[in-house]
Symmetry: C2
Subunit: 229 residues, 2 copies
DNA sequence: CGCGGCTTTGATGTTCATCAAGTAAAGTGG
DNA sequence: CCACTTTACTTGATGAACATCAAAGCCGCG
């Protein structure tokens, strides 16, 4: 009866659902799931849109952002596969409180929210797993924002660079998926000062920069700045 | 069979559980629940402690705080009854990531976490309700922190005053339950500047101050400062 | 009563936003 | 493919916002 199982090779539903969900449920979810491809820059979903689907990121990288009370863009967090995308408001609101935009080519998988809730109602173990995942994701957002809040400009920029190096790319040289302006929108500073700080890091031989290419040369120093700078 | 039901007059479990939990489960939870009274200033639970109980606030007011990477106190949020207290890490960690302290005389109700999880595993509807509540609480923390992040000192202080006036006490004159220093730890500024800002509000006849007593005279102006200041 | 923590105000310097101005890069229509 | 426009990037100069340091009054508590 394996013909009914989801065949997506790297489908995260597998690891989410563990063994706690029946073959029947997997079948009904998988047969109606919709995959979408997005290119870098595409808006995946929009602040204010009604929440109809349970959406997760299969591949790529996205940013979550919102408009502040005085109409400026503010980036809430970045999410990679395995981090759920529609976790912030799915179970607590009718509409999205944030916009999701692809910052690298991405693939999403959409499930019908009603159907997921139906399974959740009937399967507490599945729901507990889901809750754990949602909690982990929101905890991380809260902690990251608190950490950034208490740092100065230099520490914040260092923190972002280390975030991409460690959590996203797993290497010290990488191509920044976002603009200087977006870094500023994430850490709550101006674009000019983000650039100035990057230039100083470069002058101090902590990083190398070629446009969007970043190469961390002195990781120890960068970590120290991130902690105490 | 009403003798088995929880008799706490204002027990939030009732509204949480709705009709989605059996009398048996209510009985077993209620017979082993433990109520605790705390006085203003008492530490209810401590960063690093293992999470053994599912804890909620029955009466009073508490603050959630943590120690930052460079050893300063940082206040994450304030919680009043009906906001769950042990919601940040309960389902995503073995240990608390934050300290909970009573800032007014408070009563908590402790349930065995294992038992709550047991019910959750067997009752998906209950777990979905729980997830909704957890999501609402974490969403609020995230949004509040994002709002504060993007404001200047004056806007942040105004925001805190309005928070207590509107969300906690429901009136424009109230006694501040926290010190100037704690306001500073919440909004990420220094104590001196919080005091200076309060003094300016007073001089501008926006508020009156007598020690911890606050009286908002010009609410409209304060709201405008909170939004655009 | 005296100690420690909270509060308050002032003076000073640092950090950061804003303004300005110019260069590079990237998309757009003919 | 090139002129054109727009957007991103960069640096410098200036002033505003804020932290830090210092000093003194206040208050609660042992």
């Amino acid at each position: 009866m394996n013909t009914f199982e989801c065949t997506c090779e790297r489908c995260h539903l597998r690891t989410l659902f563990f063994n706690h969900i029946s073959k029947n449920d997997i079948r009904s979810i998988c047969t109606q799931k919709v995959e979408h491809r997005y290119e870098k820059g595409d808006v995946i979903l929009c602040e204010g849109d009604p929440i109809k689907n349970f959406l997760y990121l299969k591949e790529g990288l996205v940013k979550l952002s919102r408009t502040t009370s005085d109409d400026k863009e503010q980036i809430i967090s970045f999410a990679k596969p395995f981090d759920f995308v529609s976790l912030l408001s799915v179970f607590s609101s009718e509409n999205y409180h944030y916009t999701v935009t692809a910052i690298e080519d991405s693939t999403t998988c959409e499930l019908d929210l009603g159907q997921v809730k139906e399974i959740a109602r009937e399967n507490g173990v599945f729901t507990l797993d889901l809750m754990t995942r949602v909690s982990e994701a929101t905890d991380r957002i809260i902690l990251d924002n608190l950490e950034i809040k208490q740092k100065h400009l230099h520490g914040r920029v260092a923190y972002v660079l280390l975030f991409f190096a460690q959590n996203v790319y797993g290497r010290d040289d990488f191509e920044l998926p976002i603009s200087r302006k977006e870094i500023a929108e994430y850490i709550g500073m101006t674009t000019e000062n983000v650039i100035r700080t990057l230039s100083e890091f470069k002058k101090d031989k902590i990083i190398r920069i070629f446009g969007k290419e970043i190469d961390i040369i002195d990781r120890e120093r960068l970590e120290s700045i991130s902690l105490h700078g």
